[in-house]
């Protein structure tokens, strides 16, 4: 670990206690979405479109309804038709109309797997048989499955009733849902003065988040029109809001209980099955549980956007960047919003660029509606920028770290969108990379015959959001503290949040017991996403712990009949400042405190935590005959602000790197010309396993965020950004071949080698 600022003497923060939910998870006691069982529960199943693009002419559900054991059948006619109202300003934003249409198609299906109807039956087999009896008459339309097809002049249009926003002008009959532009400085002058200008365009295939647990949705619609939902989600309040919108209910009529979550990476923010189970429950007056198969997940849940990104960078004779341009075209999937603003914010984030221009296009295509995937859109743009930077270094003979340090973004650097950075730690990451054993080691340039080795390096960024979080604390009679939160725990956040409360209270992390509860039991808490949870919910825990101490002091003052100013608290003990004999442990004050139990609560609505940067170094070995690439050494360096629980920070860094390596080398939605995903199983969608990867080395750099009392920055997202360009740059280093499309799979490598010969 590299520690840049002064290290405070924390007692809990920076330690590695066993996570509070660990035993439940490893013994199988933890309850996931599919585990819920309710009395009289029915099984839901959905009918999905076999076509990527088609009009629904009619749906005949009569045969399904007649089947024994079928309790109800629904179509979109059972859902309210929503207007095109824009919701929110976050990872939960979007159009209400599109939210509803993505749950179940009304008039058109826009991707293979789009839901058109659903049934509730006594068991799964009956439900599946009933689905087969639903007859849908389609008028099949030509699909568009990538940005080139969708942006072509004669393209088949997905949303005839939708107007795209092209630089503020409303445009009909377009698949470009939005075109935004950002400009800073005089880019023409910058390129004109440049000594060298390099331009590259990269092509990223659609990829899936690849979480282990498929989606589920269980619901009860009761006699008072109150809906209870149990689901696997990254945000119970986001589900509550979305379900209430789709069903046109007041939010207070919807209660969402988040089950344990088997991975999400952004993909478990949208809703899919929850409103369907709710409507089926309303029709049957029984609980309904609906589950997805793995193929359903691939076919119909949010992947990370594919797309094309062109980047042009000009430098002067001293190696200083003068100008940069980016043209970003990303697939939104069936409904708008492909994170193009995030892409624009990230594309030149690692550099101090005096003049730049960015054009970004949000393009709808006949694929499942895209969802956030770990630093949404940042890996796509980093592939382009970091490839161009590597090419500049190769042409000019610059050391890739020295070039990055020469142009590094620091506090006060103006970002692509205009605002200046506050304290960030990219420079410290680059210096740590330069000082690392990995970078200082020699690459074995003479491996076995037929193999070539190469090394690549790349940087990446994510901006780390804040938003709303709430925490309640109560001091139990045994002196232990119950912590209630609304943040779904994906990566060990129960521990990292409890540890922040424990640090304030001066007690062991184990003495704070965290629970993630339903939407009726805690204040609004935004999604576990955007790398916000340890930062924002941790901040709420920090504030709640301070309020708890105030309560402890007030109750002690009452008990001792002295002024509270005469009392101090530290490390779980409350004491009189005047009388050293007068003191109580937490257990003693918690046992029948005067005036009622000792409780506290706090909520926050935070601004961004300050950006998180990562630098990755990849060594790989390529078999020239087969094109197979093996990662032989990999190091992830990251500014983590302050590592609350270092093991889980390292886990995030390694997990992000592993996912990025899969994106670089193997993963893709392999599509037929008619828009059907042909590899919708884990046998064919090739994610890396432990056998494919070496140990990912981690170097945590700690440059504290100015916005958090412990300096926390989000850590979950930056590590997926550098792997694709780092590996692309390593392949170029090994073979002298610049691959510009993902995945850089064996067939692409062998084809490129043949072309080179």
């Amino acid at each position: 670990m590299v520690s840049t600022p002064e290290n405070k003497n924390y007692k809990v923060i920076g330690t590695r206690p066993i996570r509070h939910d660990g035993y439940d998870k490893v013994t199988g006691r933890a309850q996931y979405g599919a585990d819920i069982k309710l009395p009289g529960m029915l099984t839901g199943a959905v009918a999905r479109s076999p076509y990527a693009h088609a009009k629904i002419k009619s749906i005949d559900t009569s045969e399904a309804e007649k089947m024994d054991g079928v309790f109800a059948v629904m179509t979109a006619k059972d859902l309210p038709r929503l207007g095109d109202v824009v919701r929110g300003n976050s990872e939960e934003s979007g159009s209400e109309k599109h939210l509803s249409e993505n749950v179940m198609a009304f008039d058109k299906v826009l991707y293979k797997g789009h839901v058109v109807a659903a049934v509730a039956a006594k068991d799964q087999n009956t439900a599946f048989e009933a689905v087969k009896k639903i007859k849908v008459d389609y008028e099949v339309l030509k699909p568009v499955i990538d940005v080139d097809q969708a942006m072509a002049k004669d393209a088949s249009i997905l949303h005839e009733d939708y107007s795209g926003d092209h630089l503020g002008k409303k445009v009909k009959n377009t698949n470009i849902a939005a075109h935004v532009r950002h400009e800073n400085g005089d880019i023409d002058n910058g390129f004109e003065k440049s000594d060298l200008v390099v331009e590259k365009e990269v092509d990223m295939q659609t990829v899936h988040q690849g979480y282990l647990e498929p989606h589920s949705g269980t619901a009860v619609w009761d006699e008072e029109d109150r809906v209870k939902v149990w689901t696997s989600t990254q945000g119970s309040f986001a589900v509550r809001d979305s379900v209430s919108k789709v069903l046109d209910l007041d939010v207070s009529r919807v209660k969402v209980t988040p089950m344990e979550i088997g991975g999400g990476f952004g993909g478990k923010i949208p809703i899919y099955l929850e409103p369907i189970s709710a409507v089926l429950s309303k029709k049957t007056r029984r609980p309904v549980k609906t589950l997805m198969s793995r193929t359903d997940v691939f076919d119909a849940t949010g992947p990370g956007p594919g797309g094309k990104v062109k980047v042009k960078i000009g430098i002067d004779s001293e190696g200083k960047i003068l100008a940069a341009y980016a043209d970003i075209r990303l697939e939104a999937g069936a409904y708008p919003e492909a994170f193009i603003e995030a892409a624009a914010k990230c594309v030149f984030s690692c550099y101090d660029v005096p003049s730049m221009k960015i054009d970004a296009y949000d393009v709808v295509v006949n694929k499942p509606s895209s969802a956030p995937y770990r630093a949404p859109a940042s890996p796509q743009v980093a592939f382009a920028t970091e490839t161009v930077v590597d090419e500049i270094c190769n042409i000019k003979g610059y050391d890739p770290i020295d070039f990055r340090l020469k142009n590094v973004a620091e506090k006060g650097t103006r970002t692509a969108l205009g605002p200046k950075y506050r304290t960030i730690g990219l420079k410290e990451c680059l210096e740590a990379a330069k000082d690392s054993d990995h970078w200082k080691s020699n690459l074995d340039s003479n491996p076995k015959p037929g193999k070539k080795r190469g090394r690549g390096i790349a940087s990446g960024y994510w901006f780390n959001i804040g938003f709303k979080s709430s925490v309640n604390l109560s001091l139990n009679p045994d002196g232990k503290v119950a912590l209630i939160e609304g943040s779904t725990d994906i990566g060990g956040s129960r521990a990292s949040i409890a540890m922040q409360a424990a640090e304030v209270l001066g007690i062991p992390a184990e003495d704070v017991r965290p629970s993630v509860v339903d939407t009726d039991s805690i204040g609004i808490t935004d999604v576990t996403g955007g790398s916000r949870t340890t930062y924002a919910t941790g901040y709420a825990a920090y504030n709640a712990a301070h309020k708890l101490i105030e309560q402890i002091i007030e109750k002690s003052a009452l008990k001792w009949d002295i002024n509270k100013d005469q009392i101090e608290y530290s490390d779980g003990v409350v004491k009189s400042k005047a009388d050293s004999e007068l003191k109580m442990t937490l257990k003693e004050i918690a046992d029948d405190p005067p005036g009622g139990p000792i409780v506290s609560s706090a909520s926050v609505d935070l601004e961004e935590a300050g950006g998180g940067f990562a630098v990755h170094i990849a060594d790989l070995e390529i078999d020239e005959e087969t094109g197979k690439t093996d990662i032989v050494n990999y190091t992830a360096i990251q500014d983590v602000g302050k590592a609350i629980h270092p093991s889980y920070v390292e886990g995030q860094m390694q997990g992000g790197a592993a996912q990025g390596i899969g994106w670089a080398l193997n993963e893709e939605y392999f599509m037929s010309d008619d828009g059907i995903m042909l590899n919708s199983s884990y046998l064919d969608y090739r994610m890396p396993t432990s056998l494919d990867l070496p140990m990912i080395n981690t170097i945590m750099v700690e440059v504290p965020s100015e916005e958090h009392p412990y300096g926390v920055r989000g850590v979950g997202e930056p590590p997926i950004v550098p792997p694709v360009p780092a590996i692309g740059n390593a392949i170029n280093n090994a073979l002298g071949l610049r691959l510009l499309s993902t995945p850089m799979k064996p067939s692409r490598i062998t084809e490129a080698l043949k072309r080179k010969k």
Partner: protein, 89 residues
């Protein structure tokens, strides 16, 4: 006076310079002042008494969570930007 940077589409459609100056005790007053100078801007920025969905205000590097009631003491610059969007659509 506070330096104000508006999104490209507003600048282009309403012929507003890249950088302008305005004042206000809070964001609401500041937007009213911009509207006085460049009629039409407010409609892009405000909807039903709040910052328009899809629009954010970055005040000296921090995206405000308070919206129009955000007080503007000792503020140097404000960037109005399209908010980062995309998620549960």
């Amino acid at each position: 006076m506070i330096k104000i940077f508006l999104p490209y589409k507003i600048r282009e459609n309403l012929d507003v310079p890249t950088e302008i100056e305005a004042y206000g005790s809070n964001l609401r007053n500041l937007i009213d002042h911009i509207e006085d100078m460049y009629p039409g801007v407010k409609e892009y920025l405000v909807d039903e008494g709040k910052l328009r969905p899809g629009m954010s205000a970055v005040i000296d590097g921090k995206t405000t969570r308070l919206g129009l009631i955000h007080k503007l003491d000792n503020v140097a610059e404000i960037h109005f930007l399209p908010s980062i969007a995309g998620g549960s659509k």
